[in-house]
Amino acid sequence: MSKQINVALIGNPNTGKTSVFNALTGLNQKVGNYPGITVEKKEGVCKLPRGVKAHIIDLPGTYSLNASSLDENVVIELLLNKNDKDFPDLAVVVSDVENLKRNLLLYTQIKDLEIPTILVINMADRMAYKGISLDLEYLETHLKTKIALVSTRKNQGIDKLKNLISNYKDLSISHCIDLSEIDPAYFKNLQSAFPNQLIYKLWLVITQDVNFGKTDRNEIDAVANFKTKSKNDLKRLQQKETIKRYQFINDVLKKGQTIDVANAKDLRMRLDRVITHKIWGYAIFFIILLTIFQAIYDWSSVPMDFIDTTFAAFSEWTKNQLPNGAFTNLLTEGIIPGLGGIVIFIPQIAFLFLFISVLEESGYMSRVVFLMDRLMRRFGLSGKSIVPLISGTACAIPAIMATRNIENWKERLITILVTPFITCSARLPVYLIIISLVIPEGRFIGLSYQALTLMFLYLLGFGTAVLSAYILNKVLKIKSKTFFVVEMPNYKLPLLKNVALTVLEKTKSFVFGAGKIILAISIILWFLASFGPGENFNNAEEITKKAYSTENLTSEELQQKIASHKLEHSFIGIIGQAIEPAISPLGYDWKIGIAIISSFAAREVFVGTLATIYSVGNDDEDTIKNRMAGEVNPILGGPLFNFASGISLLLFYAFAMQCMSTLAVVKRETNTWKWPVLQLIIMSVFAYIVALIAFQLLK
């Protein structure tokens, strides 16, 4: 009786591996558990030509040999342990024709274990729908194996697979990649410490604590003075290994696989063909952006007005309920207006994240990343920079942290340096209040000027980031680019629960994160604006009355003059007037100057600061917007927030590095103060110059 062949069926989840198993074994199968664990073990017998039998094990689905779960660990333990009774004579790697690139990662790993391997490309019946064609001969040569093109749904290719299994001894066991190339010195040491072991097996043992034979990581440390690397270094080498494998797979598939999107017939491909089209794709994205910004304005105006008037009324109510005194003033002129300055933006922030969340959930965002990748490559950035740049629309901090998966240091540095140009949610309150003050409410083909301005500012931030990356790319000279793999998920209807949770979490994080800083700044600003040194402040009432004794002012007008005089001679007034000469060419007064300085803690503090400064000494029940609209330019006369100064402020905030947390994170990620300091100086100077030019041209 001939020997039974041990065959392991291995593959990524959802590749139809179990269907292949069923097609091979028919009813000759049994289900059990792997010893000691509850992972299901499926075995069966397959009758092959010439009376040969194959004992087939359907191993749990795994994406790679870098195990992260018990199921995946089962696969690795079996493949590394030659003494196991189930150790395969042959591995059959099942892949899905639609995800060949991702599936081949596991294939190259198994191949490098020197186990005879057959590649099954399943779901072959989908090829026509997807416009996929394969050069099997080319693939077999370069993947150094035999390939069975199978469709279990149509029962095609199973006989060929059986034939290949019975002739498994003819299969090559040569490697796909030379592992030692990723760190020659390290792997040379490893090989000389264990001359009789397969280097890739040793590597898997070291990286994954999987025991095989008598060698384990502890022994590797002890024997022959072999020094293994730190966990971080090992992880870095593992990443390099994965990149090298994908480079190999990309090279093979470049010629071995053709995807003709124009010939694709299924709905997803049809949608993708339009949505990722080199012209229509961008046009659709542009229209979606327009719709989002228009909706943000149209839908949130009612709740915003409601919040604004509620806070003004609440401040007035508090003043009437509490006895007169410093603490009452702190509440009504400092804390309540300051907090109102941030709460008012909840509707717009919530709507923005609602749209982003819907786009993410529906699968459209992955297509945007793909579109942007195509665009960014022209400016010298790789696709891996896109994820940080897109997440920078929420906040630059996690975006900069997300650059950690960019292996190339210069590419990572450029991404870190340009990310703060992306319009983050903290800029939104500043943009919204200034736009509402200086941009008229008219419409152009149904789109409001205000929404168009907001969208322009988002595009301006993105454009500046890309352009800066291009310049930095020329200066820093990146030689090699990292690879970026993005899997396009299927389109689906967004789950209401997921969308609601995202909106809630993001809005909460925005309000509570900013709220704490704004609360603290409001208290300090109120103190600085309510007290001052010298006669000018303490005798403000007498001085003002004397100055206006000849004019017939009403009592209300006189009170306003006194409040204004006190504010000018308060601590904050003195500081503000000291910096006024530097900012007056930009069209700003000292109050805006104070708001710019305090918003260095966080950009959104700008609105809260102005709300607090304008409230001190003011008894009117008025909204923040109305108070800002009523401010008069002390030098030029007319409204302080006019078109020229408004545009100048918008541009200043679009380009300035007004965020100390971002600078701290850049320092931590680059491990030096050089880059954040350069970033701060260049961005601030650039913002100042642009704002200056804008004001001088438009005034």
Binding site: L322, P323, G325, A326, F327, T328, L330, A394, C395, A396, I397, P398, M401, S425, A426, E505, K506, S509, F510, G513, A514, K516, I517, L519, A520, I521, I523, I524, F527, A601, A602, E604, C659, S661, T662, A664, V665, R668
Partner: protein
């Protein structure tokens, strides 16, 4: 609420606000290590 109590409350509020900024500026790294890298709750606003 008389004037003295109001003044005391104001002083407490100012001390708390200053304390918040001192903590944010000088003890920032501890907070960052704990919360950054995940969601957006990284203390950046």
């Amino acid at each position: 609420m008389n004037t003295i109590i109001q003044n005391i409350l104001v002083v407490i509020a100012i001390i708390l606000a200053l304390g918040f900024f001192i903590k944010k500026l000088f003890l920032k790294n501890q907070k960052s290590k704990k919360e950054c890298g995940g969601g957006d709750n990284c203390g950046c606003h």
